[in-house]
């Protein structure tokens, strides 16, 4: 048993940390909250040049062919920097969906361009009343005159304003399908959702949106198993980003406790504050352990649905508690927009609701515990 990253993973993480510390400062993140695109294009270009979007995509499809843990290393650093932009929606969600569900030809035509930053993709999954998962989706696909028509409403579609296509998950006969819906297709409307995080989330309404047969990922109605695999990875990936975000909140809090003087001494000498810091540290360290285990199993190709759910449930709760603790340690200063803390705590709490909220995870875990009694 070995809980350490490999040397190359450590080098990757260090390089990413240094790059993002210089290029993705608190000021940049803050400015992007009101930016129409939501990310600085030149920063994204440099991320693409470094090959990050293709880090775990096989070399045959234009990627670097590294393991899943390398993606987690990068995401943790992105979380630490609160990096805005389409990495998660395009390089994680869309790429994974295509990699798992697409035909060889679709992978050949799409993945190299996603890796090279020539294309941006996203995934349209959540719906009003369905936060996450593949059950009971209301969006439907029907065959009509050699094409497929998609109808339904999707919400919390990330970065749909810049995505060249979205992988739309729809149900129909005989089962779930993943369909490529291109930007500007007739019958598709994209409206921003005003989130507290001010990230770029959209409502997408599809009214008889037409999809050509070659834009069905894999075979019609056969997408459940590959999407399940893709979502499991995406869920662990989200944990890694949350862990990085939490790490930064922890660092800020410990640093603040050491320098903030009240009653003539640093507040970090007070046991009440020390205990908050210890609890905060426990949250983040344990979230990292759980995420590492799920990520490692995933990289090994071992079945790890339970561990992925464990990781997300725990990371959600740990990060929500950690965010509260970080604010409690900071007091008034942490509540201002001048100070960076809110950039991290906002993500910690919002990400806990995306890609599987805690109640949803618990429900799935329970289904596994009593497979016959559910």
């Amino acid at each position: 048993m070995d809980l350490n990253l490999s040397e190359s993973q450590q080098i990757l993480g260090k390089a990413a940390r240094e790059f993002l510390a210089a290029e993705c400062t608190g000021a940049v993140v803050r400015a992007m909250e009101s930016d129409p695109a939501g990310y600085p294009p030149q920063l994204w270009r440099r991320i693409v040049e470094m090959g990050w979007p293709g880090v775990a995509v096989p070399e045959a499809y234009g990627g670097q062919g590294a393991g899943f843990l390398d993606v987690l290393v990068l995401l943790q650093e992105m979380g630490r920097a609160a990096l805005p932009g389409p990495f998660f929606s395009s390089a994680v969600l869309a790429s994974l969906a295509i990699l798992q569900a697409g035909s060889a030809e679709q992978k050949r035509s799409l993945l190299p361009r996603l890796c090279a930053g020539e294309l941006l993709g996203t995934v349209a999954l959540s719906e009003p009343g369905i936060d996450f998962g593949l059950e009971k989706l209301g969006t439907s696909v029907q065959s009509r005159q050699g094409r497929y028509l998609v109808n339904g409403t999707k919400i919390f579609v990330p970065d749909a304003h810049v995505a060249d296509f979205m992988v739309c998950i729809a149900s129909g006969d005989p089962g779930l399908s993943a369909l490529l819906v291109k930007k500007g297709s007739p019958g598709v409307s994209v409206e921003p959702l005003d989130t507290t995080l001010r990230d770029k989330q959209f409502e997408v309404v599809l009214r008889d949106a037409a999809v050509e047969p070659h834009d069905v990922l894999g075979a019609l109605g056969q997408a459940r198993a590959p999407l399940d695999a893709a979502l499991q990875k995406a869920l662990i990936a989200r944990c890694a980003e949350m862990v990085g975000t939490g790490r930064r909140a922890l660092e800020l809090s410990v640093e603040y406790a050491k320098v903030r003087v009240q009653f003539g001494k640093p507040i970090g000498t007070l046991q009440a504050i020390q205990h908050h810091c210890a609890n905060l540290a426990t949250c983040i360290e344990t979230a990292e352990l759980m995420t590492s285990k799920a990520g490692w199993l995933m990289e090994q190709g071992t079945a790890c649905r339970r561990e992925a759910l464990h990781a997300k449930a725990w990371t959600n709760e740990a990060c929500k508690r950690a965010a509260w603790l970080a604010h409690q340690i900071h007091g008034g200063m942490g509540f201002t927009k001048e100070y960076d803390l809110y950039l991290y705590t906002g993500r910690m709490t919002s990400f806990a609701q995306l890609m599987g909220g805690t109640s949803w995870c618990y429900g799935e875990i329970a289904n596994g515990l009593w497979a016959s009694a559910s």
Partner: protein, 395 residues
């Protein structure tokens, strides 16, 4: 990175042997009297025989050198045995001697090692830890029991409290004050290995609320030969602290709670309450899913301590986090499970309607001390903050 169990073969071997050797009678005695670290008034001869059988297998002191009767293997091998026992609600009955032997191996004289360690490895003797005093609990440095140097021996007087196992142990692992003027106070303490049969020692029972027993140990001018001093004069505090980290791995083992959890999950799938199977109640499902996660967290914290130990890195923050998390989670598990399963969860093992080996019932009281014994949760948090994250110690 890898999460592979490096001892899976040995684990299977131990598990199979235990499944054969742990009779229903033994399992019942363990569950009734010894789970949750309880110590009974006395043990059955069969249970003590089982402990000696463990020793005969070579499974006590696997990580000690062969020269002293150990197995010449690693701490991880020893922990496999501890874990497989814990997974069956059992334990090495003479477990405190493990703590002392680890210190003796580093600091003891050859004579002390040869005297104690081989017998400990055979499962024949136990040692009672004599650290705590009425005015020195978490504040170990405040120990007052006085040891006066008389040339070839020390004369020791004073009182120890909560010395678990002292009514059965052969030796007292005693921390006493040899320098009353020392500043800071912890620099004036010395460790001794005292034969509990020495004249002047009185062991009196303290009955605890979990129907278990611990002891007061009174020293009245007890003569202890100098050959029984462990390590150097006035270095006792450091010796004690050195091994406390490891001990916490042995004492609060996550495998016990995983087995208990599995039995709870099994129990709720067949029992009904308010006219429906418990496992169909969304509140039960949600609560147990949550504990499934938390016990995995505790397990990973535990594994992390072992990895840190193997890498010879400081473990104090990691082991504090594990001890705090494991004991708090254990308490929460038995407390919330009682509410889920209801009234039968309040019945003691003697009742014909008792459920889950009465472990939920017993756990209500028995887990109370886990969050303060062996380092209170508050102290664990101080250590994480100060030693793990460099926060300034308060005065």
């Amino acid at each position: 990175m890898d999460f592979i169990d490096p001892r899976s073969d040995f684990r299977r071997e131990v598990g199979e042997w235990l499944d054969r050797e742990l009779t229903d009678e033994l399992r019942e005695e363990f569950a009734r009297e010894i789970t949750y670290l309880r110590v009974p008034m006395s043990w059955s001869s069969k249970l003590l025989e089982f402990n000696r059988k463990l020793g005969a297998k070579g499974w006590i002191g696997l990580h000690w050198p062969k020269k002293y009767g150990g197995g010449g293997k690693t701490l991880r091998d020893q922990l496999v045995v501890v874990e497989e026992l814990a997974a069956r609600y059992a334990k090495i009955v003479s477990s405190q001697v493990l703590h002392c032997a680890n210190i003796l191996l580093v600091h003891g004289t050859e004579e002390q090692k040869m005297d104690v360690i081989p017998r400990a490895a055979r499962g024949e003797i136990e040692v009672s830890l004599g650290y705590t005093e009425p005015n020195a609990g978490s504040d170990v440095a405040n120990i007052q029991m006085r040891a006066v140097d008389k040339g070839d021996h020390f004369v020791i007087s004073g009182e120890k409290i909560f010395n678990t196992m002292a009514h059965w142990a052969s030796y007292h692992w005693l921390l006493a004050r040899t320098d009353p003027a020392a500043q800071p106070k912890h620099r004036g303490l010395t460790m001794f290995l005292v034969d509990l049969q020495t004249p002047g020692i009185t062991v009196r029972p303290i009955h605890t609320i979990d129907d278990s027993r611990t002891n007061m140990v009174h020293y009245d001018e007890v003569k202890v030969p100098k050959s029984r001093m462990v390590g150097s004069l006035n270095r006792g505090f450091y010796l004690a602290m050195e091994a406390l980290g490891q001990e916490r791995l042995f004492v609060f083992n996550p495998h016990f709670y995983r087995t208990l959890f599995n039995e709870i999950a099994q129990y709720v799938s067949s029992e009904t309450r308010n006219g429906r199977v418990l496992a169909q109640d969304p509140l039960v499902r949600q609560a147990l899913a949550e504990f499934d996660v938390k016990l995995e967290v505790a397990h990973l914290l535990y594994e992390r301590v072992i990895c840190t130990l193997e890498a010879n890195k400081p473990i104090i923050s990691d082991v504090s986090m594990f001890k705090m998390f494991m004991t708090e989670t254990g308490q929460e598990l038995v407390r919330r499970t009682l509410d889920l399963i209801g009234l039968p969860g309040m019945l003691r093992a003697e009742s014909r309607r008792s459920v889950l080996h009465a472990l939920i019932a017993d756990g209500q009281r028995a887990t109370i001390f886990h969050t303060f014994a062996g380092g209170a949760s508050e102290l664990m948090r101080n250590l994480i903050a100060i030693r793990g994250y460099g926060l300034p110690a308060s005065d």
